[in-house]
Symmetry: C2
Subunit: 405 residues, 2 copies
């Protein structure tokens, strides 16, 4: 393992903002660097990290004159080093190097490593007090209480990047959360929004991967089809905003234009809308409290003609109810929910279980975990990882019951 | 004329906010007092004013334990005095008494006198630095530059009450107007939204007075049918928010749920929505920056099902274009526009001119005024009143050309 060193050439232009991107080669990372590149004189890129694509990482690091490029997969170290040869960009590899990259002094960091792998680096950035643009879901879903405690203790400013949470943050962003009655996230309803129950049960992974509005990874696209993704977002919203679980709601909005509604005690509702382009919420996290110019398509409601809304059908999409129950139960239930869902979606994508078995396996795991794992609230990141591991093991042990015949 | 005196019994509960309502017996005034009455311990009602309904005014003044009640119509003084007899509420009458009521020390004042009659009292409140909830349109449409200069010079906080402007204010309300690209007000489209041109020309006052969503006075309801009201609101928005005329737009939205869109440079749009109930924007103006509980109907998008949007048709509704032109022309054009529109709507309601002649008379007046009135920007309220008078006279002189045959 090679440890990234602190930057060797201090920035001379002190007005430049020092920024790092964890997960630079993913969709969020690329969009972030697209925006940074449009105003490159304003930024000093400290560290870029990627999971294993050394070549893409090196290209980005050179283009953005990063100080350090870190690949998590140590087997890619030599490839990264070779690709960066003569560029002046320092190469590093390994999980600890990614954590070290997150710890490098910076003014802003994009935390866009997907999955549990994003936990340690994002916690590290939070501990430094670095302003965090948060795209990793696990920090809030699996480790919500622990993560928010770390954020509060370091005085870290957290800027959500998910379009729904960025929308709520923008709607609330008047320095006061006074009088919030409800926060309602919208859901596209996914590709199976209109499907009857029997057809849903037979939905194939290929069908589930056709998201109507957003192009995303396989896991999150399947989660959108089951509505589990919206359930996970409710858990995130609970930690990000000053609301109780029962003050959070979901409305189906197939056009994915209106992302979030914040409802106030006086009957007023503030909503955030935009064309589906992740650069809009990323830009807000980057330049908050100011706004930068982006080349994103502008919203034209007259051209769209209509925005439609429906109540989510939890009979056909029980994942939403299961996630809400886990949020209400609290303790380690959200951690187990997230772990079981990863196992279930993986099994579905492998063709081992049917679509309707995804929520069924998650619920069975949650039920069984009350006995085996208990309900205690994790108090450290290691606690979270232990419960996450136990949740996965439990889901895997229950999986055969749901196997296709 | 009887001059209102300063309050004689100083409030003992210093935490109470001293509030006055100009135009207490109108729809905005009644809704304001409804809200104040729900938390009456928090408010000390200083002065209530009305145009001529002494009986209703006296009832409100007694119910809200006002210090003073002022009726503008001096002939109603005895009636008011009699109705207040023994109540401890001081009675006053006359236009100057209304201005004096506006000048009484208060923490907050609702400026809801309609028409030109609202100018002097609202200017007086602005000069005192009293926080103003502004429902009078003329201060901004006829006297925009002069009024905003008075507001700025006294450090007065201005809170718009119109649902569209309150919506924009709420959407922007993060202490920063950075990156605003456009502000778009919605218009219901009025009762003639779908009417073809020939049918429009024959629209009767009875038909024009059927507003689909709001119950308002005759003048504003006809203005909603011609879309002149939205044009006047664009002029108001220009003075309230940091935008150029070309950054203001209108979109037709028949449901009147979404009131305003603020579009930012990063592609994000913040909108304000609510069920049509004036108590929501009034409540925000009353408790800003906090939110009070109101009994208004809560927005349920899933129940509504859809929100629709269309581009306004300026061929059928030229008033919108005429108002936009007047805003772009600047100087005294908005003052003349407002004066001519009052004459035109009045003539229409009297059956003297047809519906299509409303914008035609306004435009003819604006054209003729370039010669007779000029285009200079009014610099005092007296200037404004002089131009307003000249505009009315000019419109009346042109009226016979538009008379029905």
């Amino acid at each position: 393992m090679t440890v990234a060193t602190a930057h060797t050439t201090p920035s001379t232009a002190s007005a430049q903002r020092r920024v790092s991107v964890l997960g630079a080669t993913g969709s969020i990372g690329l969009n972030t660097l697209d925006l940074i590149g449009r105003d490159s004189a304003a930024y000093d890129v400290v560290a870029l990290t990627a999971n294993r694509n050394a070549e893409a990482l090196a290209r980005l690091a050179i283009a953005h004159r990063a100080e350090t490029a870190v690949v998590a997969d140590e087997s890619q170290y030599e490839a990264l080093k070779a690709a960066l040869s003569g560029s002046g960009v320092e190469a590093a590899a390994g999980l600890q190097a990614v954590v070290d990259a997150a710890a490098q002094p910076a003014d802003w960091i994009m935390a866009a490593i997907t999955g549990a792998a994003g936990l340690r680096p994002t916690f590290e950035a939070a501990a430094q007090g670095t302003r965090i643009a948060l795209a990793n879901k696990e920090c809030l879903v699996s480790a919500g209480e622990v993560f928010m405690a770390a954020v509060a203790s370091a005085g870290t400013m957290l800027l959500p990047v998910d379009s729904e949470h960025s929308g709520a943050f923008q709607a609330i962003d008047d320095g006061s959360a006074d009088g919030i009655e409800r926060i309602v996230l919208t859901a596209s309803g996914g590709p199976f929004r209109d499907w009857p129950m029997d057809r849903l049960a037979a939905a194939t992974p290929e069908q589930a991967l056709q998201h109507p509005n957003w192009s995303m990874g396989a896991k999150i696209t399947v989660d959108s089809a089951t509505l589990m993704n919206k359930g996970l977002e409710l858990i995130e919203a609970y930690h990000l905003f000053p609301v109780a679980p029962e003050q959070l709601g979901v409305v189906i909005h197939p056009q994915s234009i209106l992302h979030c509604l914040v409802e106030y005690a006086d009957g007023s509702v503030i909503a955030q809308l935009s064309c589906p382009d992740m650069r809009t919420p990323i830009a807000y996290s980057l330049t908050w409290p100011n706004r930068m110019q982006t080349p994103t398509e502008r919203l034209d409601l007259a051209k769209l003609g209509q925005l439609t809304f429906e109540t989510p059908d939890v009979a056909r999409f029980p994942a939403l109810r299961i996630a809400q129950d886990a949020l209400a139960a609290g303790g380690c239930a959200p951690t187990v929910l997230n772990a079981a869902d990863e196992v279930a979606v993986d099994a579905y994508l492998q063709g081992r279980i049917g679509f309707a078995s995804i929520p069924a396996l998650v619920e069975a795991t949650l039920d069984a975990s009350e006995q085996s794992v208990g309900r205690h609230l994790p108090s450290t990141l290691d606690d979270v990882l232990e419960i996450d591991y136990a949740g996965r093991a439990l889901a895997l042990s229950l999986l055969p019951k749901f196997n296709k015949t």
